[in-house]
């Protein structure tokens, strides 16, 4: 069931926005025509392969490639010697920062291998089998060092040090000794001690979450070709090809103009394709071999060497008065960054309490390096982790105060004018609307069966704007080409064309979109931060209005009227005012056909830095059923309610809601990086790293709330990231670690969790406390019973 809660205001008379046309790139994607990263080939191309460290932590004493170089068919080899060292400098890369000193080391290990799977060398050969053979001939001498995987262990003073010179930033006075703690961040408002003193109930809990991978179905892939004069082309699956260009140019020391990057169709990114891994290596190999080099990661490499997001250990404390008002809230967040600093603990700390209007709040975060792959952005990076912990405590407080969990949230909900703990005051936001829609949704009051439970949680993500260029070209017959530069991962081209069609009064099928390469359009920041429909839409509207302005000017010229005496209505240029009716209206086709005679091609060019991105809040309701025999938890009903500002193409907005929820459910139920004591990843494949499959999930109902963003011409907010926040993955770990010895006990507790907000809450809380439970899940205590490695096998086919 899909529905929408419409606001009364907003632009009236929309003809295209809010409809569900077939996406312009759709036919290519259902026929196999669409070309993704691994689908590009060039004559004479070589196959590139990467040699990876088998050790989680080792000094690299020597890399000898001489034997591999002698193998017939090997055309180039690169190692750390082929990449110049970089000074420490942070640059934005999507929602995270990148430090070039670290990036060059992540692309190719330098002094040390810092995780199992860390690239140590790469070869380009005439076939895959020769490349594989060559990797075996590369001799690497390692001095194996003790490793550390766990975030709390990594923070201990005696932990093995990943970076011997790392002094914690953000601490005064600066520590004298190096540690694995890269940075401390703090966001605070008011006086939490005073707030806790005013509380009638204070609940403090600890939580742990494990790293999970973005799990895009398409492995990283690229094709590079570098000519003798240095002119280079790169085809790559990425969320941002201008970012790829910048990183490659920096790491290789080349001029930016030398590298032209084309974004192929992208088979999922979720934040994980906002950095570079293979790309500078492929360019370096091609530059040496003077032949095209194609590189594609195996799924195992994707797991071992790209992504994931942080695991974390956290402590959250919230106090409230008997009347249900929260008086103070405090969080301590320790996030794993992987091998190099840069976990999303900053956004995690900023988001932790964002759904609440709090006078006294403090969130402190630590960014901690461990011997795991460097984390990459993952859908609302950092937020699902911290907001999960907060929502658990909020739920427990509601129980303690005998309040309905939605009423408790409504009493404390952030709304327009609320000053967020991370600084700004919110404009119009849709959290209250989403909570109210949840409360009146039939799902919330539907009866539950035996062993079933229901949970509710809210979530928040900022959303961003950023540099965006769009070109809109009027053709001779009145059709358009819309040229954009943000890779389309889930229906962006459809939404951009719809906004252009709305402005121009033309049929959406008359606008053909293209995602241009880096040499064919002005700069575009990447697709991330739920920015592309928001920022791209702003640029499209500006470009369309330029086209309309030019069309009117051309007609005025033809009619020998002043420009202001011409107007644009329903896709036609007409004389206005006293001249109305004096000339036959001109269509955009007429204007296009006559363009050469009236001043040249009619083209709208918008190059903007989009400001005014507005956050999106959402509330999810989940029903789960626990099998009392096995402890297996099944999701039997799920509803996502979220503010979209304005849903341009509701089908793809619902798709974001459903997909984000499914990823959150996977995080909750099945997904986890499992390491052996040797520091090696034990589940680098989809068989053992089990993302949700169709038989794991019910239909996911959606409600699109529309509280328009006043700073967007159509009221659009980003919608892509918020949906992963409420499902809250981390609670699975609490359940598992604490309940593994007693499966039946898990099921008992879980079954008792059913009807959690109806009765027995205090009894169960007491029971939980007696067992030493330190955490509850936001989606209902029933999820305490989550058991990993779902009994569901893959379907049998005949």
């Amino acid at each position: 069931m899909q529905e929408r809660v419409r606001d009364a205001g907003g632009p009236a008379g929309l003809k295209v926005i809010g409809t569900r046309p077939v996406r312009p790139d759709g036919v290519d994607k259902v026929t196999g025509r669409a070309k993704f990263g691994a689908d590009y080939n060039l004559p004479g191309q070589l196959v590139g392969r990467v040699l990876r460290s088998p050790h989680p932590h080792a000094r690299i004493k020597r890399v000898d490639t001489s034997k591999a170089a002698g193998l017939p068919g090997v055309k180039a080899i690169v190692t750390r010697d082929d990449f110049a060292d970089q000074a420490s400098e942070f640059v934005p890369a999507g929602e995270m920062l990148i430090n070039y000193r670290d990036l060059v080391r992540n692309v190719m290990a330098r002094e040390k291998a810092l995780y199992e799977g860390h690239a140590v060398a790469a070869v380009a050969a005439t076939s895959a089998s020769i490349a594989k053979e060559a990797l075996k001939l590369i001799e690497v001498e390692y001095e194996v060092l003790p490793h550390v995987l766990d975030v709390d262990e990594a923070m201990q003073p005696n932990a093995p040090l990943l970076h011997e010179d790392m002094i914690t930033a953000g601490v005064e006075p600066a520590p004298k000794r190096p540690s694995n703690i890269a940075k401390r961040v703090e966001f605070a408002l008011g006086d939490v001690e005073k707030g806790f003193a005013e509380a009638d109930v204070v609940i403090e809990r600890e939580f742990r979450t494990k790293p999970v991978h973005q799990g895009y179905l398409e492995p990283h892939a690229c094709l590079a070709t570098v000519a003798e004069d240095g002119q280079s082309d790169l085809w790559v699956t990425t969320q941002g090809h201008w970012i790829v260009r910048a990183h490659c140019a920096r790491l290789l020391g080349w001029d930016i103009s030398r590298i032209r990057v084309t974004a192929t169709e992208i088979g999922g990114g979720f934040g994980g394709k906002t950095v570079v891994y293979l790309e500078p290596v492929a360019l370096a190999l091609s530059a040496k071999a003077k032949r095209p080099v194609k590189m594609v990661m195996s799924r195992e490499e994707v797991f071992r060497a790209s992504g994931p997001t942080s695991g974390a250990s956290m402590r959250v404390k919230i106090g409230a008065r008997k009347d249900g008002r929260i008086t103070a809230a405090e969080a301590l967040l320790n996030y794993q960054a992987g091998a190099f600093q840069g976990s999303p603990v900053g956004p995690g700390a900023m988001c932790a309490f964002a759904p609440y209007d709090l006078a006294n709040v403090k969130a402190v975060g630590f960014d901690v390096v461990t011997n795991r792959p460097k984390v990459a952005a993952y859908r609302a990076p950092g937020a699902p982790i911290s907001e999960y912990a907060v929502e658990c405590v909020v739920d427990e407080l509601a129980d303690a105060l005998r309040l309905d969990p939605i009423d408790f949230r409504l009493k404390n909900a952030a709304r327009e004018g609320t000053k967020a703990a991370y600084g700004p005051k919110f404009g119009p936001i849709g959290l209250v609307e989403s909570l109210e829609a949840a409360k009146t949704h039939p799902h919330w009051s539907a009866p539950l069966g035996p062993n079933q439970g229901r949970g509710v949680a809210s979530g928040f993500w900022f959303n961003i704007g950023g540099e965006t260029t769009v070109q809109l070209q009027l053709n001779e017959d009145g059709t358009f080409n819309l040229v954009a530069g943000t890779p389309d991962i889930g229906g962006l081209r459809a939404s951009l064309c719809m906004m252009a069609a709305e402005e121009l009064g033309v049929d959406v099928s008359h606008i053909r979109p293209l995602i241009a390469d880096t040499a064919s359009l002005g700069y575009n920041f990447l697709t991330g931060g739920s920015r592309s429909t928001f920022a791209g839409g702003m640029a499209v509207v500006e470009a369309a209005r330029q086209v309309i302005g030019q069309a009117c000017a051309r007609a005025a010229k033809l009619w020998e009227l002043p420009a202001e005496a011409v107007t644009f209505e329903d896709g036609m240029v007409k004389p206005a005012g006293g001249n109305a009716g004096k000339h036959q209206p001109l269509s955009l086709g007429d204007i296009g056909r006559l363009a050469g005679k009236t001043g040249g091609p009619v083209v709208g060019n918008a190059s903007i830095t989009a400001h005014g991105a507005a956050p999106s809040f959402g509330t999810h309701i989940a029903d789960v059923e626990v099998d009392p025999e096995t402890g297996r938890v099944g999701i039997i009903r799920y509803t996502v309610i979220q503010d979209a500002g304005r849903a341009v193409h509701p089908g793809y907005v619902e798709g974001q809601y459903q997909g984000g929820a499914a990823q959150g459910i996977g995080w909750a139920l099945n997904e986890e990086y499992v390491y052996g004591e040797d520091g090696r990843l034990q589940n680098p494949g989809f068989l053992d790293y089990r993302i949700p499959v169709a038989s794991d999930l019910p239909m996911i109902d959606t409600v699109i709330v529309e509280v328009p963003n006043p700073r967007h011409p159509y009221g659009v907010r980003g919608v892509g990231e918020t949906p992963i926040v409420p499902p809250h993955g981390g609670h699975r770990q609490c359940a598992r670690e604490r309940h593994r010895p007693s499966l039946h006990r898990v099921a008992d507790v879980a079954a008792q969790g059913a009807c959690r907000h109806r009765k027995g809450a205090s009894q169960r809380r007491q029971e939980a406390e007696n067992q030493g439970l330190s955490a509850k899940c936001a989606l209902g205590e029933c999820w305490w019973g989550l058991w990993p490695d779902s009994a569901l096998g893959l379907t049998t086919r005949s």
Binding site: R20, V22, R23, D25, G26, V27, K29, V30, T31, G32, R33, A34, F36, A38, D39, N41, S129, G215, Y216, L217, E218, P219, E265, I266, G267, G268, G269, F270, V296, S298, R299, I489, G490, G491, H649, G651, Y652, E654, G655, Q658, G659, G660, A662, Q663, G685, F686, L687, I691, P692, V693, A694, S695, L697, M699, I700, L792, L794, T795, R797, S798
Partner: protein, 158 residues
């Protein structure tokens, strides 16, 4: 290492290729025959992106050697449409917005066609279990399941 000469049909057309022993059917389709509509998501038979029909049977082409395809009839996404028209499943996937990034879509379509060939009136549960070998990370499966059910209904009416 000498390559093997193999001959089989793809979407009804006779094809020939030279392949190494260890090359999978997926490698042969993509690298030797340039049919890149069939995708590789894992290479271990876990994601279903490489689904094709071999003599009418649904298989992961990454788990089958190229030389095993000799003499067989292989159907891929490229052959799914009917002449100039899309297959009802392809059309319904578009109408229901049942794809986002689209990398898993060819595999889902081939697998769903195989289901409807056997069972023209599947229940939601049957659709979900049949498609449980195809991973999608974008959609949460809701719209995919609806599209398959809707296509089945339309095909029953036709």
């Amino acid at each position: 290492m000498a390559k093997h000469h193999i001959a089989f049909t793809v979407n009804g057309d006779p094809v020939e290729a030279l392949c190494e022993t260890q090359q999978t059917l997926l490698d042969v389709l993509r690298d030797e025959l340039e049919l890149t509509g069939t995708k590789e998501g894992c290479g271990t038979g876990d994601c279903g992106a490489c689904s094709v029909l071999v003599d009418g049977r649904l298989v992961c082409s990454c788990l089958m050697l190229g030389i095993e395809a000799s003499g067989k009839s292989v159907e891929t996404i490229e052959g799914m449409g009917r002449g100039e028209e899309l297959h009802p499943l392809q059309r319904k996937f578009l109408e229901h917005a049942a794809l986002q990034c689209g990398i898993c879509t060819p595999g889902f379509l081939v697998a769903a066609k195989s289901l409807l060939d056997r069972n023209p009136d599947p229940t939601e549960t049957e659709v979900r279990y049949w498609l449980a070998g195809n991973l999608c990370r974008c959609t949460g499966y809701d719209k995919i399941v609806r599209a398959v059910m809707d296509a089945a209904a339309e095909m029953r009416r036709a």
